[in-house]
Amino acid sequence: MHPYASSDPGILKQEHLVNAALQIRSGRLLVFLSILSRLTVVVLLCALALLTEYLNLKIAYNHPRLVELSSGKAMRMFYEAADTVFSKFGDPMQLAQTNGGMTWSIRLMGVPFTDPIAALSVLAKDHRMKLGFALGLTAPLALALLFGRAFCAYICPASLLFYFISRIRRWLSRWFYFPELSIHRGFSWGVLAGGIGVAVWTGHGIWTLILPYFAVGQTVFHGIAMGTLSIALGSILLFACLDFFFGRQFTCRYVCPTGRLLGFVGQKSLFSIRRNAQECLTSCNSCAEVCPMKVSPKLDQSVDCSVCGECLVICPTQCLSIGIRKVVSIPSHVASPIPERIHGSPPQSL
C-alpha cells in the first residue's frame, strides 16, 4: 500500500474480495496486443482483397506457370501459398469464397459479422433484415457487452492510423504546439442521427464517407482488388487532419458514431477499468491525461473506456487494472478528491 493513500480496513477487505477475480495489470501487454490485433485486421483486409485476385487466377489459369506468365513471379508465389493453405481444408475455390467483405459486413470461414450501424441503417431504410445479417450482430454486441469499446482499440483499422498520428503528434510536440480540443460528445450522436437520415434520404453509400473504418476498408479494397483510388480516401484524410490538428484520437472520441453506439451499449460492460482506491494518489491525474478516450479512471468512470491499457502503463502506483466491473461502491470519503486540473477539459459524462 502506498504511504500517501488512505486506509480503511473494511474497504480493504471488500477490495480484496473483488480483486480476487480475473485481472490484467500489465498495460504494456494490452497496448502491444491492441496494436498487434489491429495490424492483424489490416493484414486480413488486404488478404481478403487479394482473395479476389486469387479467385480470378484460379478460375482463369489454375496453373502456377500460367499464373506466373500472366502476372509475374510475386503473384505466382501468392497463388501457390493461398492454394496450399486452402487445399488443406477442402476445395480451394469454395473455401476461398466463404471469406469476403470488409469492416462493414464481413464473412470469415462462412461466419457473418455485421456492423451495428449497418443494421440500424438497413432497419431505417429497408425495414427488412435477413437472418444471417441479424445473427452477424451477435459477436459485435457481445464484445461491447463484455468489454465496452474494445472494438475501438483492438479491431478498428482506422484507430490504428489515428494511434500512429498521435505518436507523430507527440514527437512533433517537442517543437510545435498541438491543441487538445474537447467538444461535447453529443456531436457523434448527431453524426449518427444525421448519417441515418442521409442514408434514408440517399443511400447506404454515405457511410463510406462518414465512418473511418469503413473508409479504410473501401480504400484498401479499391486499391488492392480493383486498382483504383476510392473517394473514401478523401474522408480518411479529413479524419486524419482532425486527429492531427484538433486532438489525440479526436475522431474516435467525438465523431465516430460506431464508437459512441458501442460505448452506449457497453457502458455497463462486464469487464472494465478498475481502480484500487487505497493505492490511488490524491495529487495524480496522469491516467486521465493519457487516456485517448478522455475517460477518467480516477473518478471511476468507465463509459467509453476502450481497454487500451495506456493508463495502466502510466499509473505510478499500479492501482489500475482491467477486470470484472466493481459491484461494490466505494464510500465517498475513501475516493480521492479530484485534483485541480492544469490543462485539459473538465471531465464529461455521456
Binding site: Q97, A118, G194, T202, G203, H204, G205
Partner: protein, 208 residues
C-alpha cells in the same frame, strides 16, 4: 424496471439539462446532410443505370437494400464486379456494378450466394438459375457490326452463354438477339472485336 427508469432519467437529464448536448447534436446531425452536395462537383457524363450483378432486385429496392459491403465484388472469380465511386451519384456510392465492355459476367452466381442483405437474390448456377437472371438486354448496332457489313464475324455468338436461344445467327453470321432469353451478362459486349463495340448491353430492369 429500475434499469428502464434509470435510463429514462439519464436520457431526460442528458437531453433537457444540457443545451451543449443539443447544440453539438444538431451540428453533428446537420454536417452529414451536406455530403449529397458532392454530387454538384463537376463530373463527366453520368450513367445512372448500371448493369448490376445477377439476381439484383429492382433498381430502387436494390439501392435501398445494398449496404456497399463489397462481398459480391470480393467473391467474384471473374473480377467483373466493381464498386461505384461518385460516378453514379451519391445514391449509387459503393454499390456494385458491372462494366460489360471491360468484363462480362460469367453467371457463376457466387455473388448471389453471399449477399448479406438480400439485395442480390439467391440463384443457382444451373440452367434454370441462369434463365431467371435478368440483368439487361444486348442490342446490336447494325451499322457498326462487321457481319451486317458483309464481313463474317460471329464473335459475339461464340461468346454467348445461351447460344441458339438468346442469340441466333443469320447470313454472314449476323447476330440476332432474342430479348426473352437474353440475360444481359455482357459477354458478347466484352468479346466484340469492333471498336467501339457493335453490341451493347443495356440494363432493362424495372426501376421500382
Amino acid at each position: 424496471m429500475s434499469i428502464f427508469a434509470e435510463f429514462l432519467e439519464k436520457l431526460r437529464s442528458t437531453l433537457i439539462n444540457r443545451s451543449a448536448f443539443l447544440r453539438t447534436f444538431l451540428i453533428g446531425a446537420v454536417l452529414p446532410c451536406f455530403l449529397p452536395l458532392l454530387e454538384r462537383l463537376p463530373q463527366g457524363a453520368r450513367l445512372r443505370r448500371f448493369l448490376r450483378p445477377p439476381g439484383a432486385l429492382a433498381e430502387k429496392k436494390f439501392v435501398d437494400a445494398c449496404i456497399g459491403c463489397g462481398q459480391c465484388a470480393n467473391v467474384c472469380p471473374n473480377k467483373c464486379i466493381s464498386l461505384c465511386g461518385l460516378e453514379g451519384g451519391i445514391e449509387n456510392l459503393a454499390t456494385p456494378k458491372i462494366s460489360a465492355r471491360a468484363k462480362g459476367c460469367i453467371l457463376c452466381m457466387a455473388c448471389t450466394q453471399v449477399c448479406p442483405t438480400g439485395a442480390l437474390q439467391k440463384l443457382e448456377p444451373t440452367p434454370e438459375g441462369i434463365a431467371a437472371v435478368k440483368m439487361g438486354t444486348a442490342m446490336v448496332s447494325e451499322d457498326v457490326c462487321y457481319s451486317f457489313a458483309g464481313r463474317t464475324c460471329g464473335v459475339c455468338y461464340r461468346a454467348c452463354p445461351l447460344p441458339g436461344k438468346a442469340m441466333t445467327l443469320g447470313i454472314f453470321e449476323q447476330p440476332h438477339v432474342h430479348e426473352e432469353y437474353c440475360v444481359g451478362c455482357g459477354l458478347c459486349e466484352q468479346a466484340c472485336i469492333h471498336m467501339p463495340q457493335a453490341i451493347r448491353v443495356f440494363s432493362n430492369r424495372s426501376i421500382s
